[in-house]
């Protein structure tokens, strides 16, 4: 500091710092003592804080606190807080769950989270599915769309290997049974009953002989056997000629894993509630007869 900096401001009698901006000069006003004390206190606090809390990589603080530990605590608290609801969901029969709006809402939200972890790999994050993986938003169900049926599907899976109660059906590969011309006629017939082409007597004959036992004489499917409705606008593997030919000639064998034992009861139930809530859920008990599904399909058309 030079002597220049020791000038005194006339009006206040305070020393000038020596900084000047366009004629405005900075006074060297002393700090209030309490401010200095607080500053010293913060330094002391910082020293204590460095010792008490983790401040260096791989060095635990004196209090043993860690953000990971705090997260664990928070998770434990959340799990404990949720236990009451999840226990109630697990203990409630499916049909009663739908009748309990509050519990159902919790179940749907829990299912939404579980779906994101366990189901999106096949069904997609919006449950819209893709070829071979059903869209769960629509009102077409292979094995039933009431919450009990959905729950059963989730628990035992579909064609899940090694599970006795799994939902099982197998369509034969007709390439070994029928000629190419016959398969082509069948494709024509299936397209005809779903409104995509002209019907033929030969196709109808072949259908009655080979397909009606599972898909029904009218082709509207049979949920007991997981046989899809062939007359509606929804196709799991595609309704175009090539896809249908492939399906009839080589058959399809989609597999869904069973979730019993992998997820706890409450989570499976919550998943059922979530899938049921996506817009195609049907009332309980299940209207599984062909006529009931006919009535549904005509709604709003």
């Amino acid at each position: 500091m030079t002597d220049h900096n020791k000038r005194v401001d006339e009006a206040t009698g305070t020393n000038l710092v020596g900084h000047e901006w366009d004629g405005i000069e900075e006074l060297d006003t002393p700090l209030p003592r309490w401010w200095v004390y607080i500053f010293a206190a913060t330094v002391v606090f910082a020293a204590g804080y460095v010792v008490a809390y983790p401040s260096f990589p791989d060095v635990a603080g004196g209090t043993g606190w860690s953000s990971r530990g705090q997260l664990d605590e928070a998770l434990k608290e959340q799990t404990a807080a949720r236990a009451k609801v999840t226990t109630a969901i697990a203990a409630t029969p499916n049909d009663q769950l739908v009748a309990n709006p509050q519990l159902m809402r919790s179940a749907i939200e829990g299912g939404r989270a579980a779906f994101k972890v366990n189901c999106v790999q096949c069904h997609g994050s919006g449950a819209a599915g893709s070829k071979g993986y059903p869209n769960l938003n629509d009102d077409d169900w292979l094995w039933g769309g009431d919450i009990t049926s959905i729950h059963t599907t989730l628990v035992h899976g579909i064609r899940s290997p090694g599970v006795d109660e799994t939902r099982f059906s197998q369509m034969p590969a007709f390439a070994d049974i029928l000629s190419k011309g016959q398969i082509s006629a069948l494709v024509n017939h299936v397209r005809a009953i779903s409104g995509q082409g002209k019907a033929s007597a030969a196709g109808a004959q072949l259908f009655a002989e080979n397909c009606a036992s599972c898909h029904g004489t009218d082709g509207k499917g049979m949920r007991e056997q997981g046989a899809p409705n062939l007359t509606d606008g929804i196709w799991l593997y595609g309704g175009d000629r090539a896809s249908l030919t492939q399906t009839i000639a080589k058959a399809r064998y989609g597999v869904m894993p069973h979730w019993a034992g992998r997820l706890d009861d409450a989570t499976v139930k919550m998943l059922a509630a979530y899938v049921h809530s996506l817009g195609g859920g049907e009332a309980n008990p299940a209207p599984v007869t062909a006529s009931a599904s006919t009535g549904e399909a005509n709604v709003g058309s």
């Binding site: 002393p30 010293a40 938003n137 629509d138 606008g233 929804i234 709604v299 709003g300």
Partner: protein, 486 residues
Amino acid sequence: MSALDLINPTSGLYRKREPVFPRVVKGRFRQLKWAVMILCLAVYYITPWIRWDRGAYAPDQAVLVDLANRRFFMFDIEIWPQEFYYVAGLLIMAGIGLFLVTSAVGRAWCGYACPQTVWTDLFQHVERWIDGDRNAQLKLNNAPWTAAKLGRRLTKWSIWLVIATATCRAWIFYFADAPTLASQFVAGDAAFVAYATVGVLTATTFIFGGFMREQVCIYMCPWPRIQTAMLDEKSLIVTYRDWRGEPRTQGVKKAAAAREKVGDCIDCNACVSVCPTGVDIRQGPQLGCINCALCIDACDEVMGKLNRPRGLIDYLNLDDEKHERAGGAARPILKTLLRPRTLIYFGIWCAIGLAMLFTLGERARLTIDSAQDRNPVVVTMSDGQVRNGWTIKMRNMEGRPRQVELTMAGLPQGRMWTDAMDRKGAARSVRLNLAADATTRLHLYVAAPAGPAGETPFALIARPLDATPGTNDGREAARDIKFIRQ
């Protein structure tokens, strides 16, 4: 001496607080200060206890910041979080109001209405009641720590603590039902945040009002700096008429005998001894002066005793000060108050207030919001129709349940249903029961025959079915949305 003092006792790097022991004073501004203080404290303490009937579905507290339920109640006005801009408007009004007050009457906020001033004033009255006036306080302050002094100090601090606690108890009552919280608080059942708030605010009130006092104004508060920039030559500030007072003379008779020039100031230091921030107003306008005008009262009293005209220290603006110094006659105060700057501020202030009142009266109390399902956007149904879905939020901001009819305008072949219904019940309109003062959230589906890919705009219109004729509560809420085909 403390340790820090020992490090460098004369460096001038820091300064010890000079204790201020303001003397009691009587006069018109002291009375005004009393009135403002009583008014402020009364409004502050009583407001949360005022009841206001809003029916069965809303709290009956007149002024309530219901953080837990995200509602702000003020008499007949209820604000939802998304209407928070009204609070922003109030803050702007408060800001403009401070511009107005500052440009007209200087630091009147600091001198009369600032909580720091009000509570410091209150604490100082307690201090006088326990310790006596200025001289007794000075004496006690310099006295050694005896049992008697300790007793007095403890008494004083206890009363301060009681006031501080009461102050902060009143604060939390603005955020919950006051009678309920009061009994919960005493019983120990109140939320932890209530006790924490009271604890922290009690500590700050106790320290700021009892010990920090003018240090808060001089070192901590940004407002004096801002005000310095907002004052102009027409703003009223407490001014010492130095051309009349100087040269200040203690031995007036002696000086007069010696034919010396004698000013009106007799250098009795009354103005300094009553000052709550310990400044000498005769040094001119300064940061430490909060414009409380107690020195005016003190000086007027002395001038009265000496049979000299009052107003040696007075509210005066810089323009008039120059004018009077040059020998001009005193100008009426009203003339400096009513000038373009203050009138413009007042105009803006009123305009914002009126605009807010108008929009408050006109705002919708029934609104509808929608978010279209994006994953998947389009779902093909088994009958070949396509379906879109929306998450609908309907806000019923009135304190009663309402029944509304949600209708589709446009998309003639579309039919809609909600997640509480079956598609069998799909129709052009659905009836909904909306809970009182709540957001009703639902999922809405619309199905329409498949067609070429594209967007078909249509509108959802929510029409109240329970409107009282002659009021505007039958106002519809509408939302333009698009039906998408792929």
